[in-house]
Symmetry: C2
Amino acid sequence: MKKATRQHTKEHNRILVLKTIFDHPSISRAEIARTTGLTRTTVTDIVAALLDEELVTEIGVGESQGGKSPILLSLAENSRFLLSLDLSHSEFRGAVINLRGEILATACLPVEGRSGEEALDLVYQILDQLIEAGFRPLVGIGVGTPGLVNSPEGVVIQAVNLDWENLPLASLLQERYGLPVRVLNDSQAAAMGEYTYGHGHLAEGNLVVINARHGLGAGIILNGRLFPGDGGGAGEIGHVVVQEAGSLCRCGNYGCLETVASVQGVIQKVKELAPGSIRSRDSGMQDEASLDAIVQAYTAGDPQVKQIVSDSARYMGLAISGLVGVLNIQKILISGDMTHFGDAWLQAVREAVSQHSFSRLVTETHIDVGQLGKDSILLGASAVLISHYSLLFRREMASEPL
Amino acid sequence: MKKATRQHTKEHNRILVLKTIFDHPSISRAEIARTTGLTRTTVTDIVAALLDEELVTEIGVGESQGGKSPILLSLAENSRFLLSLDLSHSEFRGAVINLRGEILATACLPVEGRSGEEALDLVYQILDQLIEAGFRPLVGIGVGTPGLVNSPEGVVIQAVNLDWENLPLASLLQERYGLPVRVLNDSQAAAMGEYTYGHGHLAEGNLVVINARHGLGAGIILNGRLFPGDGGGAGEIGHVVVQEAGSLCRCGNYGCLETVASVQGVIQKVKELAPGSIRSRDSGMQDEASLDAIVQAYTAGDPQVKQIVSDSARYMGLAISGLVGVLNIQKILISGDMTHFGDAWLQAVREAVSQHSFSRLVTETHIDVGQLGKDSILLGASAVLISHYSLLFRREMASEPL
């Protein structure tokens, strides 16, 4: 709890007005005053400053409510641009994104097993390409990376696949590009993306997004804000043990959720138990190709594959029922490539949740597939930057660390 | 997000000063100004009002820091009193509690199987007794009850043992006693108690308290505030399935954590598998007596009982590892009668957590027994009232619903 001063009040109200304009396609000064409870004079002063900053534009005249027709204001969505990275797949993806979450340019480079410094070099290459696209002004860089992340300090504590350990990614990028940087775990970024752009921007709401791709994790939004946990590891449900005496996980334990309900887990099981389903393909093929083959076998009704995929849904449901028990959050979305298994799989997940949960809690719980597809992490990493509204004001641009 | 006004600023700063005085045994005006960042003038004005309200007293003179010796201020701990109830045991307990969490009077009545209206009548009897003790002014009633609770509306949605369903407990008590009422789930109350009085009042911290008694639940404190979940059921981990094809739970599912790790669960298992351990006692005896007998058999090394208790610790550990994975909260306390099994049991819980958790998360996680013993729920229910500081100001006393 910090002291409240008039300066604090002024800043608070400025952000409140900007947020209100963000939340509407167009809005008049009078409506802003009604929505926020601020006086007309205060709103007029703040809007004047936002127009001056070019964050807001006057886009025309609305319908009269009796008196003079009001001037409509709208967010100047292309007045600032964000760079965003998704490092969670077999190719690194980057994008230039505007203030409405529209992707204006992208850059992709295959990882091909690179790790450590080489993987970092790929990050630089993608950012260099995106910067060359010429969108200005750029106000920050958001990164969604696999692994355990200390977001306040911008450090990747451990990302096994990339062989990064205690990598100060935010400082490195900030030094190189002179922009504020925010680094997030990929599942936490996916949650921010779905919350901000997919699920409809619910004020102060709660949301869990389960991101089931090569690995498996979750992002938790509490009261409208990402909850990182004490060590940045909130949502690390991929390493919760769901099957005693199960398969060895890359974390060293046995029977983690990731070994049965992630893409790599399912591919591994199919290779062990139903190798015929993907036999005809190149054994060195990427996750994506293997997954496609397994989805085809599943759809075609291959009994062994069906069993493996049903098991994955059941364990996913078991883990979700644990989440429902702990948090009683009623809106749960699943994103990532595992959702390619489609409606039957989703239905099996829902049934497992019902079977394993306290009925009074689960009847109000809704489990769906996320709306953003493969863009959720990119959009989420940029949304985290936008949620620091003060970053958008010119005086702070490119100067203040997050 | 609401508008900030000067009135809001003033209220915020008044609470900030009161909170600062709460957090210190004694403190001078100059120290308050330093701690809060407010000006001396503002602090002096606010303190004058708090002295006038008799919430704060001048208790003497501190050491000079060079100039005039400063007058020390302290919370007037007996200037307001709270009534608090714990309905989670085989006897209902009530207490009169002061602003420092000291229990000044108690009243207890055995439930003896009463439920519905009869159980409600017991609640009235206890409150009547406590009010007769004569402590004044009373500023509110806090209730910790088993079951699913809608705290914002003060409704007990479902408390199976008491046969309460959609009981508007807060309105009933408020109407009868003319005091603000706050109703909480018992495990959520235990968490508030340990957070406020046991664990040391950490500003803005995170804490999970697992309350393992007749039933089993948890309370979750996030950023210094109780997190209720969307439906009031956050922390309902007693009904997370930990054992596929396990025993039937009173919720209708099989293998819930409560069936293996709660007092009733352990008693049930001992009756089924090792009836000899409690054979000599009256078969109709209370939980408390049965538990004592089982603890004795455990301590004496009865192999069947040891197995049952070890299993309970293992499943408790499994559930905690799920919590650690979801929330990455590093401070976890266990309260309730199950802690009577002592250090060996606690150590077994910790080992199970280590075995089932992602090592990077669990190394920083600390699991201990709570410090308040059987008072945690009473103290927590009163702490929730105190955390609404505005309730303590005279103009609002006994008038404003929570």
